[in-house]
Amino acid sequence: MSLSKDQVQHIAMLARLELTEDEYAESVLKLSKIVDFVDQLSQADTTDVVPMAHPLDAAQRLRPDAVTEVVERDRFQENAASVADGLYLVPKVIE
């Protein structure tokens, strides 16, 4: 199955990825190949097979609802490009 450029544009939008024109052209080709390749799965007979949720059939562990973390905001924000008064700055969302 070949993906169209519109489809790839839609996927890139969903994934929040800006692509150049060249990258679009290449993505249409290569993603189509990958989709063809994984389409082999449709031949497998999976009637009554339960989807695998965990390699060891383990269940999610629960813990008491207690405070375990300390606030280290200043240290963590050292990696942010733009902060002020402990807040992360982004372009204006609402005019």
């Binding site: 993906l3 790839v8 996927i11 890139a12 969903l14 994934a15 929040r16 990825l17 800006e18 692509l19 990258e23 290449e26 993505s27 290569k30 993603l31 190949k33 990958i34 989709v35 390749f37 994984v38 389409d39 082999q40 799965l41 449709s42 497998a44 999976t46 097979v49 339960v50 989807p51 695998m52 949720a53 965990h54 390699p55 060891l56 383990a58 999610q60 562990r61 813990r63 280290e72 240290r75 963590f76 924000q77 050292e78 990696n79 942010a80 490009a81 733009s82 992360y88 982004v90 372009p91 204006k92 969302v93």
Partner: protein, 479 residues
């Protein structure tokens, strides 16, 4: 490591001297290989000094004063943790990964952070933002990936051990291609806390060394329950070094019919058959087993892994950490351009593949279907392990390939992991052990065990290494 430890204990050299010598060697020789993203010389010398003091006081841990390297996917406090990506080129980790903590507590001296495929997505180390790594056995060849920097560094004798991570073969395939030992333990055996996530249901940390004995030592330090990783398994950690000396008399070794179908280089197949014959001569019993869904493991993986990666990598938004595009006009523009600029081609491809298979109308056909086939594959292994203790076969279909040969064709690259991916899908422990050469390039024997049977794999590999000397071979330029 055993030899180095003896030297340290006998006072033949100090950890500071050993560390200086290795840093010097890395400075001299790494320009040709590019195995390091960051060399942490000051931190290493300080750790070595502490280790020497601890040794003098008789208080050192299992790795006291021994040099190691961390794959640059493990967060290290105060040190750049890039994950091989432009996205994290400016990221100084504010905390240590569980693996990093444990190694430090055991007294290890960390020489630096090793190069890798971007976000561990690749089988050749060519997707790294910091450039490809060369294979010490042939500088024009790839060392494999994604833990290619770790594997090449161990092969080049920069350190006796390096950490790695394995989502589809990323420890074992580079170990095979560089003539080193690589082990990926059972899913959940080693904490993933602070290990940058690629595909969370498949990712597992492990090690690359030259001997099974060193792998056992390292794994003993790394393994164990950690409440900070929600999938960490609370299962006792055995003394992995304790049983290594036991014979493998009577060990049932499964040989998979499908492994020797087309796709496997004929000369590699010969090396694998010779290795299995060697195991038989040590008392093991070869038993033919069937993995009928082997062919489906790669397509299954390339649905499950990209799906999980597209979700995991959504955290890179240009806001809290990582690369941020300049002069964004609005928030969507900031996200799209930061991610478009920060990620390389292969990472973008996998994010898009994952986004597609999870998108409305396709979920059942791809993701759900793949998780069903994954169950079939896991069941095949379960059936096989009813009759055998380990499964032996090739780690990779060919010896090291030339840099540039496969990078333009994702499917050919993906098929390099055909023999290794099954263990990740089923969560099984697996390792690669050097078992000979083809055209002067190393070949790896792949051993897979049942859940939590790392000890059996390590014993089998150790006994094999006692009877063979492939692991002692050293690439000529790095002697």
């Amino acid at each position: 490591m055993t030899e180095l430890e003896a030297g340290l204990d006998a006072g033949e050299f100090s950890s500071v001297e050993l560390t200086r010598a290795l840093l010097e060697r890395i400075g001299e020789l790494d320009a040709t290989l590019n195995t390091f993203v960051t060399v942490t010389a000051d931190e290493a010398l300080a750790a070595a000094e502490r280790a020497d003091k601890a040794r003098a006081a008789g208080t050192g841990g299992v790795l006291n004063g021994l040099p190691i390297i961390h794959k640059d996917i493990f967060c290290t406090r105060g040190v750049k943790t890039s994950c091989g990506s432009r996205m994290l080129d400016n990221f100084i980790s504010p905390y240590d990964a569980a693996v990093v903590e444990k190694m430090a507590d055991a007294g290890a001296v960390v020489l630096g952070k090793s190069n890798m495929d971007e976000f561990a997505m690749g089988s050749s180390n060519e997707t790294s933002y910091y450039g490809a790594v060369s294979n010490p056995w042939d500088l024009e060849c790839s060392p494999g990936g994604s833990s290619g920097g770790s594997a090449a560094a161990v092969a080049a004798r920069f350190a006796p051990a390096a950490t790695g991570t394995d989502t589809g073969g990323s420890i074992r395939q580079p170990a095979a291609l560089t003539g080193t030992v690589g082990i990926k333990p059972t899913y959940g055996r080693v904490s993933r806390y602070g290990m940058i996530a690629f595909a969370s249901s498949l990712d597992q940390a492990g090690v690359i060394t030259r001997t099974a004995e060193d792998a056992a030592r390292m794994l003993g330090v790394m393994a164990g329950f950690d409440e900070r990783d929600s999938t960490s398994i609370d299962h006792p950690v055995p003394d992995y070094r304790a049983g290594l000396g036991e014979s493998i008399e009577g060990l049932r070794v499964g040989v998979v019919r499908q492994h020797f179908d087309e796709g496997l280089d004929a000369r590699c197949a010969d090396r694998i058959r010779e290795a299995i014959a060697e195991l038989e001569s040590l008392g093991a019993k070869a038993v033919e087993v069937d993995l009928p869904n082997l062919d489906l493991s790669v397509p299954t993986y390339y649905v499950v892994a990209p799906a999980e990666c597209s979700s995991n990598l959504s955290r890179f938004d240009g806001v809290r950490f990582g690369h941020r595009a300049e002069n964004a006009k609005d928030l969507p523009d900031l996200y799209c351009r930061s991610r478009g600029e920060g990620f390389g081609d292969e990472v973008k491809r996998r994010i898009m593949t994952g986004t597609y298979v999870l998108s409305a109308g396709y979920y059942d056909a791809y993701y759900l279907k793949a998780q069903q086939v994954r169950h079939l594959i896991a069941d095949d292994f379960k059936k096989a392990f009813a009759n055998v203790d380990v499964i032996a076969g090739p780690t990779a279909p060919t010896p090291a390939f030339k840099l540039g040969d496969k990078i333009d064709d994702p499917i050919t690259m993906y098929l390099n992991d055909i023999y290794t991916i099954g263990a990740n899908l089923a969560g099984l422990p697996a390792m690669s052990v050097p078992c000979g050469f083809v055209d002067d390039l190393p070949v790896g024997l792949h051993l897979v065990g049942a859940h939590f049977e790392e000890q059996t794999l390590l014993r089998c590999a150790h006994q094999y290494q006692q009877a063979t000397d492939w692991h002692t071979a050293c690439p000529e330029r790095f002697r």
